[in-house]
Amino acid sequence: MTEFNLIQIAIAILFLPLVGFAFVLFLGKKIKSAYLVEVGILILTFLLTAVLLFNKLYWFADKNIVSEFSWISYKNIAVFGNISIDLGFLLDNLSVIMIFTVALISMLVHIFSIAYMAGDKLYNRYFAYLGLFTFSMSGIVLTHNILMMYVFWELVGISSYLLIGFWYEKKSAPDAGKKAFLVNRIGDIGMFSGIMMLFNTYHTFTFEKIFAQMASGTLPFNSEFWLTVTGLLLFCGAIGKSAQFPLHVWLPDAMEGPTPVSALIHAATMVAAGVFLVCRIFPMLTGDALFIIAVIGALSALIPATIALTQNDIKKVLAYSTVSQLGYMVMALGVGAYKFAFFHLITHAFFKACLFLGSGSVIHAMHHEQDITKMGGLKKKLPLTYATFLIASLALSGIPLTSGFLSKDGILQGTFAFGSLTGYWLFPAVGFVVAMLTAFYMFRLIILTFHGEPKNKEKYDHAHESPFVMAMPLVVLSALSIFIWYTPNPINADAGLFLGKWIKTPSLSVPQNARYSFMKTDLVPEGKAENNRDISNEVKKEGTAEGKEVIYSEAYTEAMHHAHYPAMFLSLFVALTGIVFAFVFYYWKKISADKLARDIKPFYKLSFNKWYFDEIYNATFVTFTMLSSRVLAWFDNTIVDGIVNGAATVTRMISFFTGRFDNIVVDGLVNLMAYLSGFIGLVLRRFQTGRVQTYIVLVVFSLVIILYLFKTF
């Protein structure tokens, strides 16, 4: 396997789903089983990603493979000089692990959908859209430049729009799709502005070149402030796509789409793209930017977690949980725990996909009943679903021996260390609270769905375990929620290859004094600050080559070490507390949940109504836009057009008066002239004999006169 082979594989991975999309879209009507082609292509794609993953990690673990070609190029133009907008691939450990995850989950969702979507009248179209989505998502992951990322970013948005609105005959589905797309677009505007800033400064879109120039001291508008702003603008894209506060409102609505879609797009892959973006641009984020990112992440972790406590729709609970977990990852990135954020991204993708597919299985069994208050006791009817759901829930709650425990613990450890170094203890506090809330609402969900007495007897009786194609993905995904795939040591993630060797925090390109204090490179002695940038550049090369951590200061490593066990035990404690509370409330029913809800009614209503975000946005932004559009249309029709028509009316009035004037005065003159000429004509008439010959005589005379006048002698 050469690097070139890997690139070829990557190209195949990217374009195979597109081929599938085109095939199924155009031939889906004629060939009933066209979807099988799409599923086959996805299985092939998955195998290719497996080959890619193995070879990349085995042979080129420390190398970034880049391949590019020029898409649009300009030579020697004013302002910019030479510009080449390149398209290309960047295969680093980050992208190959991510693409593997995407392909795996996509394949499982395809297989799951075969049974889940059976009987839908647009069955083939559904698979076509899934193919389009997989293509777009692969693009985001594999690309080496920000513009192409934006391109696929939008494509992902559109395929998400199509899939959310898949059941377009329901009004709510297209509404949700539209909302998702528009809310995403708000974030994209920010992201695009950031891209404009980058391009304006560096005249390239390629990450590596941007970081290299940045490391050598070129900054947007030559100021660290604007670098922060650029980073935050790019992060806006992530806010939209990863449904972070305050743009998280679209994700719960997006559950209008088919459940496998929710699993693929709105839990595992697309929403993770935002986090992936932040990972990609991590080297250019300043300390200030990271801090704001951490704050947004913390808010996004906390608020949806409180909302999830009271929701009754099984998918809504999972959706808010997703937002909350994404907030976790973003917060982790914000506090500098890069590795753990990405780790959590991967583990979360598997167990959240498992949960969603599990919920899909439940919904399928219950004939599209989604309200958990109407379920119950399904444990006996759906034993396999229950088992996998439980494993995934344990992972989500952060119980030992699961992958979730490792990654979540890592994040909490990171926030803990951050708190101890900077004094912002609020982040670990939020982290632990959310961990507890997560454990609580997940077990509330499990208890209400699978335990207790069935509330809807009729549907319960008809419920049956899902067929093999639906069960298989559940088993695979729940298996992947076990720690063993990532590290041999169930309490120390660093022991495994995943974090120990493959995933490393990239070295920063940000000027030293704009970083977090603990991320300043220690290798540079005090007093030689002016050389900082050059040295950090060298460090980057050497550091990656030897696999040494040089990003963080000694103090940070120390703090992380100290934070490990406290964070672990504390997180375990809060998770167990949450689970116990869930049992107390819903299983043993020692405390009535309803009574508690009544006692703290304002809080309950706030949570139940999702903090009124939708209502507030509707009342402000949407109303404002609609109102201004109405007002402007009125203005356009009445005022602008009115002026035009008014001008016409005035002209007509003037023309009326001039018409009268014309009739009486001017026409009078004309008539006078007419009489005069009539009189003259009476005289001249005598010359009008009607005979050509007379005329000719006159002509001859005139000719003589003219010739005489113009004589040359």
């Binding site: 010959q693 007379t694 005589v697 001859v700 005379f701 003589v704 004589k711 040359t712 002698f713």
Partner: protein
């Protein structure tokens, strides 16, 4: 006075005198015959000017064609048996004054114009040159004239048939 000059004066006299009779004589048939002499005279002038081909065309078309046509016209529109063949004139005096003045002013102009003097170039046959020009440089015009003649033929026929 060379022979060339004599011939010129001869033809000029024939032309002008017979033209004068054409426009003054009252009998229309005589007029037509004098027109024949005018055409001959003009043809002679062409020859003097070295336009041999045009002179031949003048004879063939004018004398052979147009004149005959005119004679036919005379025959068809006058009953020859009648003495009506003499035709009247009108407005002779204003016409004479006007035309006299016109001729005078033209003559004055051409006398007073400083014509460029070019030596008599040697005469040479023109037929080949004309032929080449008609099919090359003036090819389109030539074709158009052909069409025109066709149209005139059809038009004349249809007009006369009415």
């Amino acid at each position: 006075m060379s022979i060339y000059d004599i011939i010129f004066y001869l033809f000029a006299t024939i032309t002008l005198v017979s033209a004068f009779f054409v426009v003054t004589i009252r009998n229309i048939v005589y007029s037509a015959f004098f027109l024949l002499f005018t055409f001959f005279g003009v043809a002679g002038i062409y020859v003097i000017l070295g336009a041999d081909f045009i002179a031949m065309v003048q004879l063939i078309v004018y004398v052979g064609g147009i004149l005959i046509l005119i004679l036919f016209g005379v025959m068809l529109t006058n009953k020859i048996t009648n003495v009506q063949i003499k035709t009247g004139t009108s407005q002779i005096i204003p016409a004479a004054i006007g035309v006299g003045l016109f001729a005078g002013i033209l003559t004055a102009t051409l006398v007073n114009t400083p014509w460029r003097k070019i030596d008599n170039s040697p005469l040479f046959p023109t037929t080949q040159g004309l032929g080449l020009m008609l099919i090359s440089e003036y090819g389109v015009v030539f074709e158009l004239l052909g069409i025109l003649l066709l149209i005139a033929l059809i038009g004349a026929a249809s007009l006369a048939r009415k």
